[in-house]
Chain length 503, copies 2
C-alpha cells in the first residue's frame, strides 16, 4: 500500500498530471487528423506546443529528482511489485525528459516542423538537393541528442536512439536478427517468386468500393477482433494510426476506392494497435508503468493481427466470405483461390509501406544500415541517394527510378526520428514468435479463428502482453515470459516458409 | 510597442499560455459532445479537470499580482489602447480567478458534477423533493462565492453573480429593463393572441425530415450567413452550442425528425454565436482583451441572426424557398402564408427553451426574481415549486402541470449558475437595438437580406461588435458606441409591435 504522504504518492500525483496532459494531446492530435477544419491548424499547433511545455515543466520541477531519490532510497521496500516497476519507469521517463536542455529541444522541435514541409515539397518535386541541407540538420540534431544521452546514460549513441522508441533495445540485439534476415530473405524471396510464377494469373477485384461500405466492413472486422465501440471509434484519415487514452481508443484508417484489401488490412493493423491500448490495465492508468512497453512490441500487436492471424489459412476464408457478401459480383475474381493469390502475392518493390511481409524487413534493414552510418559519421546527407540505390539493389534487388520513390519516400528523418525504423521489423519478428507460442499454448486458437472468433487469441495477448504494460523492464522480457525464450528469427522464418512455400 | 522584457510582455506570455489551455479545453469539450465514445467520459472528465487546475495554477502564480501592479504603475503610459484594455481585462480575470479559495472552488466543482445527475433524475421522475437538498446546497455555494466577491470587489452579491457572465452588468441596469418588459409583454401578448385567433388555421409540416438533409440545409444557411467552413464545422449533438478558438469555430446543432423549423433555427442561432467568435480580432488571440465581451452580448449576436434577421419579413421568403426546395411537397402547408403563420405563432407555454420571443423574457424575469429572493435569503429550496407556480401565473399566465415542466426544467442552478438567466433577455433586448441601428446606419441591409445576402449585416456587426472584443469595459459601452445610446427596451418593444401587430 502506498502511504498517503510518501514521496512515491507525490510522484504518483505528478505523473498522473502529466498523464492527463498527454491524454489531452493524444485526443487533440487525433482530432487534428480527423475532424479539425484546415484553418484550425495554426491554433492547434500552438495549443499542442503549450501542452508539451506544461508537461515538460512538470517533469523538470526541481523537486522531481529529490522525490525519485527519496522513494528509491527510503520507500522501495514497502512498494508492491507494480509500484516498484512504476518507480523504475518514472526514473526512466524523468531521465529522458530532462536529459536534453529545453533550449535545444525547442530548437529541434522548430526545425522538425519546418523540415517536414521541406521534405513534403522535395518529395512531390523529386528534388533531393532541395531537401539535403534540411536532412543534414535533422541528422545532426538527432546525433547531438544521442551524444548527450550517450554521455548521460553510458550507452552507445545509436543505442540511445533505439532506446527512445523501444526501451532497452540495442544494436547487439538487432544486429543478429537483421543479419540473419538479410541473408535469409533474398533467398526465400527468389524461391517464392519462382513458385508464384507457376500459379494462375491473378484477377484484379473490380472497384470502385465506396468508402462508406468499406468503413462498414472495417467496423465489422474490428468488432469481430474484439474492439469495443463503447470505448472507441473508427474514422477515416490520410495516414492511418491508432491512439489511446484510458478507456477511449481511436482507430483511424484509410480507404482507396479501387483497392479493397488496402483499407481492410489497414483497419486490422490499427485494430491490433488499438487492442493493445485497450488492454492496458485500468488500475495503472496515467502512470508510466501503465503504458505500452515499446514501439516494437506495439508493432508486434498490429502485425500479429494483420499478418499472422488475419492472413492465416484459418481466418482468410472467413474474411473472403465477408468481402464477397459486401462487394462480390459472383465472378471468378471473388473466388477463394483468386483472393488467396491476391493476399499472398509477393515481390520486390520500391516503397516500404506497400511492401509485402517478405520484402518489408529488407526495406527496414536498409534504413537501419544507413542510420548506423549516419551516427558513425560515415555518410553525409548528400551521399544518401547513391547509398540508397546501392543498398536497394543489394537487399531488395531493384533500384528506384527516382528519389521520390527512393530515399525521399519516408517522413521519419524529416520528423527527427532516427532509431524508429528497426521497430517495424523487430515487431514483425516478435509477432511471429508470439503467434506461434499462442497457438502452441492454446490449441483452440486455430479452430476459433476459422469460425471468425478472435476471443481465444485476444485472451492470450491480453494476458501475456497487454495487461503487462510496462511491468517488465523491456519488450524482450515480455516476449521471454510469454514464449519461454528470447526473441529470435526462428518463428518468423518458419512462418514465411510455411505460408509461402508449403501451404 | 510592447517592450520585450517589460512586466506587460511577461503577462502577455502568461495569459497566452492560459489561453492555449482554455482552447484545449474548448476543443475537448466540443469533442466530448460530438464524437467521444460514451466510455471515454471518465478520462475526459479527469483530463479537463487537470487542465482547469493547470490554468488556475498559472493564474495563482504569486508573480502575477506583482506583474499586474508593475505594468499598471510603471508601463501603462507606454501601452497602446488595446494593450491598456488588455491589461485592464488581465486584472479583472486575475481578480475573479484568484478571489475564491482553491479548496472551496474544487468542493463546489465536485458538488456541481453530482448535482447535475441528481437534477437529471429528479426531472425525469418529476420528484422535486429528491432534488431540493442538492438545490439548496447549489444555492448556498453560489451565495458563498457571491459574498466573497462582494467583499473583495465592493459590489452587491447579486451584482457579483451577474458580473461573472456579463462584466459590469448590475441589478440597477437590469431592473428597469425587466420591469418595463414585465408590464409591456403580458399586454401585448393578449393583443397578439387576439389577432392570431382571427387568422386561418395553421397547417403542420409533415415529416419526417431526415437528419442528413436537415444538416445539409443547415450548412447552406450557415454558409449564407457567412460561416467559413475552412475555419469551422457544423455537427449534431444533444444540446446545441457553439464554441470557438482562434481560427477554428464549431457549431453544434440538433435535428428533430418531425420539427423542421426547430433544427433550422437552432443552427441559425448557433451560427450567430459562431460569427461573433470568428469575428474576434486575430491579433488579440488568446488574450483577455480578445475574448467576447460577455454572455448577454454573445446572446445578442445569436438572437440578432435568429430572431431579428432570419425571421425578418425581408429574409423569410428566401428561407421558405430553401425549405420548399429541400422538403416541400407542393401542398398548401408549404405556402409562404402558412409558413409565415408557423414562424409567427405566439403563445404562453411552460418551457423556457420552447418559448417564442414574446413570452421568453417572462420566463427569464421569473428566474431573475427568484434568484434575487435566493440571494436576499427570502426563499429556501423547499419553497421553490409554489413560488414558481405563482410567478408563472402572474407573468406568463399559465401554471405548469408538474415540477418537471416547472421548476425542474433548467439545468442552470444544478450546474451552479446563478446570474446567468438574465443574459438571455438582456441579449434579446440588445439584439433588437443593434439590429435597428444597423438598418438605420446601412439602409442596404434590408434589400440585401431579401436577396439572401447577409454580408452587409455581418459587415456591420463585425465592425461594431465582433472586432471590438473586450476593448470596451462593458457590453453596454459596446452597444452605446454602436447605436449611439445606452441599452433600452425601446427597439425591442417596437420590434415586437411591428412584427406581431402591424406586419
Amino acid at each position: 500500500m502506498t502511504k498517503p504522504n510518501s514521496a512515491y504518492s507525490e510522484l504518483l500525483q505528478n505523473f498522473e498530471k502529466v498523464g492527463h496532459i498527454n491524454a489531452a494531446q493524444a485526443t487533440l492530435f487525433w482530432e487534428s487528423r480527423t475532424y479539425m477544419p484546415q484553418g484550425g491548424a495554426p491554433t492547434r499547433g500552438k495549443v499542442l506546443s503549450t501542452l508539451t511545455g506544461v508537461a515538460a515543466e512538470a517533469m523538470a520541477d526541481p523537486r522531481m529528482g529529490d522525490l525519485l531519490s527519496r522513494a528509491e532510497d527510503e520507500e522501495a521496500g514497502s512498494l508492491e511489485d507494480w509500484e516498484a516497476a512504476n518507480l523504475r519507469e518514472m526514473r526512466r521517463r524523468w531521465q529522458h525528459e530532462t536529459a536534453i536542455p529545453v533550449a535545444l529541444a525547442s530548437r529541434i522541435a522548430e526545425h522538425n516542423s519546418v523540415a517536414q514541409s521541406v521534405w513534403d515539397k522535395a518529395r512531390a518535386e523529386n528534388d533531393f538537393a532541395a531537401f539535403a541541407p534540411t536532412l543534414q540538420q535533422s541528422w545532426d540534431n538527432a546525433c547531438k541528442v544521442a551524444a548527450i544521452k550517450s554521455d548521460a546514460f553510458g550507452v552507445a549513441p545509436y543505442d540511445a536512439m533505439l532506446d527512445e522508441f523501444e526501451p532497452g533495445l540495442t544494436t547487439a540485439a538487432v544486429d543478429p536478427i537483421f543479419d540473419d534476415l538479410a541473408s535469409f530473405l533474398p533467398d526465400i524471396l527468389q524461391q517464392i517468386l519462382a513458385k508464384q510464377a507457376q500459379g494462375p494469373e491473378i484477377l484484379p477485384l473490380k472497384g470502385p468500393f465506396p468508402e462508406e461500405r468499406q468503413l462498414a466492413l472495417s467496423r465489422k472486422l474490428a468488432a469481430m477482433i474484439g474492439f469495443d465501440f463503447h470505448h472507441g471509434r473508427i474514422d477515416s484519415t490520410v495516414h492511418p494510426f491508432a491512439s489511446g487514452v484510458p478507456g477511449d481508443v481511436r482507430i483511424t484508417t484509410r480507404f482507396e476506392p479501387d483497392d479493397l484489401t488496402a483499407g481492410i488490412m489497414a483497419t486490422i493493423h490499427e485494430t491490433g494497435h488499438a487492442m493493445y491500448e485497450a488492454g492496458l490495465p485500468a488500475d495503472w492508468a496515467f502512470q508510466p508503468v501503465g503504458e505500452a512497453r515499446g514501439m516494437a512490441l506495439h508493432e508486434s500487436q498490429s502485425l500479429l493481427m494483420e499478418m499472422q492471424a488475419s492472413r492465416s489459412a484459418e481466418f482468410l476464408p472467413v474474411l473472403f466470405g465477408m468481402m464477397r457478401d459486401e462487394f462480390g459480383d459472383g465472378s471468378e475474381a471473388w473466388s477463394d483461390t483468386n483472393l488467396l493469390a491476391i493476399y499472398r502475392k509477393v515481390g520486390p518493390s520500391f516503397i516500404r509501406v506497400y511492401a509485402d511481409e517478405v520484402t518489408y524487413p529488407l526495406h527496414v534493414i536498409l534504413r537501419y544500415r544507413i542510420e548506423r552510418m549516419v551516427v558513425e559519421g560515415e555518410i553525409k546527407a548528400n551521399d544518401l541517394p547513391a547509398v540508397w540505390r546501392d543498398l536497394m539493389v543489394e537487399l531488395v534487388g531493384v533500384a528506384p527510378p527516382n528519389d521520390s520513390e527512393g530515399c525521399l519516400q519516408d517522413v521519419h528523418w524529416a520528423a527527427g526520428l532516427l532509431g524508429y525504423f528497426p521497430t517495424y521489423s523487430i515487431g514483425a519478428v516478435t509477432a511471429a514468435q508470439l503467434y506461434a507460442a499462442a497457438r502452441e499454448q492454446d490449441p483452440a486458437i486455430d479452430a476459433s479463428l476459422a469460425r471468425g472468433d478472435f476471443s481465444a487469441l485476444v485472451g492470450w495477448t491480453r494476458a501475456n502482453v497487454h495487461s503487462q504494460a510496462s511491468r517488465f523492464v523491456s519488450s524482450n522480457e515480455v516476449v521471454e515470459a510469454a514464449t519461454g525464450r528470447p526473441l529470435s528469427t526462428e518463428a518468423f522464418k518458419q512462418h514465411l516458409t510455411r505460408r509461402y512455400l508449403e501451404e
